[in-house]
């Protein structure tokens, strides 16, 4: 019978929601990892173990598990979250799904994100509002390219706390040695990602090991299981309430001639009635007369509140302007450096005009220069070229009017922006303003992202570049000696080969890129002047 559910399953279909006593602040987290690492299964398992699955949903899950399931008819928790028909057919997650659950201690919003590289932008969307990331690793496979990529992106988007879930421990006989090996490799990889905490856990999402409670099968594990960890963790969180007052004007509120208010969201800091503010970019100053809400006037408004301010003077401010503490004015610029994550199928067109949205401000933007790309596998800067889908790079962006900015690390509202294609209206890039980036304009492979990364990079270079060079150099040298040259000439030839071969390889690679780029630009030019269409 399709509808029949095992007793043990129904026993879990307990209260939809727990009481809220002594509740901690909401935790927003993201699950990420490579394809088939079991992200959706883990979320389904967490919902199930925290008793968030209702009876009718369990009955539907049972039906679906038999129809689409990958677990031989047993409950397939991934089907609880993979809601789109295409996802169920293919057994993969395409789009970010948000799930809501609650335990006695805390409410959670989970962004379940796709593992496939082609859907990285959806993963980055989930990361943009997350406090914590669960990074899943398949115990059999260890660290994969997607693990590195996702770790880099969550770090870039400001996540500081990581739960490192080594999943499918059942398939490696719950081996402590394997677990330790992966954890050590991850810590080594993540050294420069600026995470505040990394909490490793050996789990099996399928069997529920170390999810709600400690598993007997990993007696060697001394940490906290996943759900209690999420309930108890104090994340680095949002520092916006401690920063200076910033209030992007969203909508000018004019019900009649006697009232003129500025409606918006307090992006950071706080404001009191009577505080002196400046309207940016004009710089005109006034004082806050009233903080208006439908529930009555306030004396104080803080970051995260939507309010309406009235000012003592008739100063001009409109949508997109920012009211700020008069004594702590932000940077206003028409040119900035930002990290870009390219989210469109079509490559970046340097020099083309895009639409930028930053806070409530919309303007025109051009990409003046790409300084370097980030190699997602080594985290090292790579040679500059126009970004393609899912690529990350540091660029200089020029605006057609002054923009009021913050550094992304201090203020996501004034430090994060999107670029929009003016013809297709697609969101083509996420931008993160980096006010610390050197304003260098060198064309070549840019300065290293971090100094500390250099030693690892050097070691890697020694292994990957010098070793083959030394080998080929020795071969050339020995070959020359065999062919009758003097040992000294042989040595010389060998050294020259070792030294020049990488150079030649770089030249060849650059030439290929140059040709590809010229072909692309050629295509653009022929399009822009009609190109025979």
């Amino acid at each position: 019978m399709a509808y029949a559910l095992a007793e043990k399953d129904l026993a879990h279909a307990a209260p939809l929601a727990a009481p809220r006593a002594g509740e901690k602040a909401l935790l927003r987290f993201i699950t990420c990892g490579s394809v088939d690492d079991g992200k959706s299964t883990l979320i389904g398992r967490m919902l199930y173990d925290s008793r968030m699955i209702a009876e009718d949903q369990l009955a539907a899950l049972d039906r679906d598990s038999k129809k689409f399931g990958t677990q031989n008819g047993a409950l397939d928790f991934a089907l609880l979250v993979d809601g789109l028909a295409a996802e169920r057919e293919q057994g993969i997650t395409i789009d970010v799904a948000y799930r809501y659950f609650r335990t006695d201690k805390r409410s959670f919003i989970v962004a379940d994100t796709p593992g496939h590289e082609q859907y990285t932008r959806n993963m980055a969307t989930g990361a943009s509002t997350a406090d914590l990331a669960i990074i899943l690793i398949d115990a059999r496979k260890g660290i994969l390219p997607q693990t590195r990529r996702h770790s880099f992106i969550v770090s870039m988007l400001g996540v500081r706390d990581v739960a490192l879930a080594i999943n499918k421990m059942d398939l490696v006989d719950y081996s402590e040695a394997r677990f330790n090996e992966i954890v050590a490799a991850y810590r080594d990889m993540a050294r420069d990602l600026n995470f505040r905490t990394i909490a490793p856990l050996p789990i099996s999402a399928l069997n529920g090991d170390n999810i709600a409670s400690l598993s007997e099968r990993t007696a060697w594990f001394q940490g906290e299981p996943l759900l209690p960890l999420l309930e108890n963790i104090e994340t680095a969180g949002d520092r916006s309430s401690e920063a200076s007052f910033r209030f992007p004007v969203q909508w000018v509120n004019r019900p009649d001639l006697n009232f003129r208010g500025f409606s918006g969201w307090v992006a950071s800091g706080a404001v009191h009635v009577g505080d002196e503010i400046a309207s940016m970019p004009s710089g005109k100053t006034s004082r806050v007369q009233r903080i208006v809400t439908a529930d009555g006037d306030l004396d104080l408004a803080v970051a995260g509140q939507s309010v309406t301010l009235t000012l003592a003077d008739e100063i001009d401010a409109s949508r997109g302007d920012v009211l700020v503490a008069a004594t702590q004015r932000p940077a206003v610029a028409t040119e900035i450096q930002a990290r870009l994550l390219w989210t469109a199928e079509t490559d970046m067109h340097p020099g083309a005009s895009y639409i930028v949205k930053l806070g409530a401000r919309v303007a025109n933007a051009t990409i003046a220069q790409v300084h370097h790309l980030v190699d997602i596998h080594t985290f090292e800067p790579a040679r500059a070229r126009p970004l393609g889908l899912n690529e990350i790079g540091l660029a200089t962006i020029r605006f057609d009017r002054p923009m009021i900015l913050g550094d992304y690390r201090d203020n996501r509202d004034l430090g994060g922006f999107i670029l929009i294609d003016r013809i297709t209206n697609e969101t083509v890039a996420f931008g993160l303003i980096d006010t610390s980036a050197a304003a260098s304009s060198d064309e070549a492979a840019a300065p290293p992202a971090t100094e500390t990364a250099n030693w690892t990079a050097l070691k890697r270079n020694l292994r990957t570049k010098l070793a083959p060079a030394a080998f080929s150099g020795s071969c050339v040298g020995l070959g020359a000696v065999v062919l009758g040259a003097s040992p000294a000439t042989g040595l010389l030839l060998g050294l020259a080969d070792a030294a020049l071969r990488p150079v030649a390889r770089n030249l060849l690679r650059d030439y290929r890129r140059f040709r590809a780029r010229r072909a692309r630009i050629g295509a653009e030019e022929s399009l822009s002047d009609g190109g025979g269409i």
Partner: protein
């Protein structure tokens, strides 16, 4: 420093979304469907623009099969708040005699609700329609954006949604395209009731238990709201203490037996419940991905 509560954060986020639409879209409208989510939506719209009135009208797509009390409640609320209320009925469907009993729930919903909504949006050329849908309601809703782009034919393309990072919404669209906007995306059923209790928001009394005339049909308790509902052989009207967790067309909305007659009792009952709120919605059970399919066809 003030710590905002969970509900305060949700409220601030919803207000922010309302204002973005007012600032960036030309002809917004609020889809008002009279239930608890619409009640919260309307309340938040009033707050978002205070002391101004919301700069958009309310639109109700009436299938002609709503509970009578819902219609009275709708007209009263719009009048109390001084807001313009537009009611649209798919007259083609009425003429063709489409109804939930003879046409089946699927056809009835498609013609009277989905097609009716498209007609209304086209007729008034609205480019943004607020809805009270929440991501916790249903799996395909969980994948929905806050600003959900629809083609000129009102189709939703779930595989090609715009990424929506932070609180930045890309509100650009081509002529004819429109947005469905969901300010309650991050709310749960529990949050909605907590907020209704905290803010004292009026909701139809159908949510509260009362002795009502019901018929047991296909495993559901259907309230016989008027004489248009024919009784099948062997069926009899019973008078039971029931209430509704969601409100829709009365022949398609199952009641639950309950004695919860006050807000605290409702909240306690919901927290102890083992079934989800959409269980009572007969139209959701027409196939596995049926909500996604309906949404692709233009359903809210």
């Amino acid at each position: 420093m003030i710590q905002l509560t969970h509900l305060q954060k949700l409220e601030a986020e919803a207000i922010h979304i309302f204002r973005e639409v007012a600032a960036e879209c030309e002809r917004p409208v609020l889809l008002y469907s009279i239930g608890k989510d619409s009640a919260v939506l309307l309340h938040l719209a009033m707050k978002a623009f205070y002391p101004s009135k919301p700069p958009f009208p309310l639109l109700h797509v009436d299938t002609t099969w709503k509970f009578r009390e819902m219609i009275e409640f709708r007209d009263r609320r719009a009048k109390e708040l001084g807001l313009e209320l537009l009611v649209h009925i798919n007259e083609d469907g009425v003429k063709a005699g489409v109804n939930p009993f003879d046409s089946g729930s699927r056809l009835h919903t498609d013609v009277m609700k989905t097609q009716g909504l498209k007609q209304a949006l086209d007729k008034y050329r609205y480019d943004a329609a607020f809805g009270g849908a929440r991501r916790d309601e249903e799996k395909s809703r969980a994948k929905e954006r806050v600003f959900s782009l629809r083609s000129a034919e009102h189709r939703w393309d779930p595989k090609n949604q715009r990424p929506e990072p932070w609180r930045l919404y890309n509100t650009r669209k081509r002529p004819g395209e429109s947005f469905r906007v969901f300010p309650l995306s991050n709310w749960t059923e529990s949050d909605v009731w907590d907020y209704i209790a905290k803010e004292n928001i009026p909701v139809p009394s159908l949510y509260f238990a009362k002795v009502r005339p019901v018929v047991r049909r296909d495993g559901a308790l259907i309230m016989r709201d008027d004489e248009r509902m024919p009784l099948r052989p062997g069926e009899a009207v019973e008078h039971l203490s029931v209430r509704f967790r969601t409100l829709g067309c009365y022949p398609l909305t199952g009641a639950v037996e309950s004695t919860a007659a006050t807000l605290p009792e409702i909240i306690a009952e919901m927290r102890a419940s083992k079934v989800s709120e959409r269980e009572g919605r007969i139209i959701d059970h027409d196939g596995s991905a049926s909500m996604e399919q309906k949404k692709q066809e233009g359903y809210f």
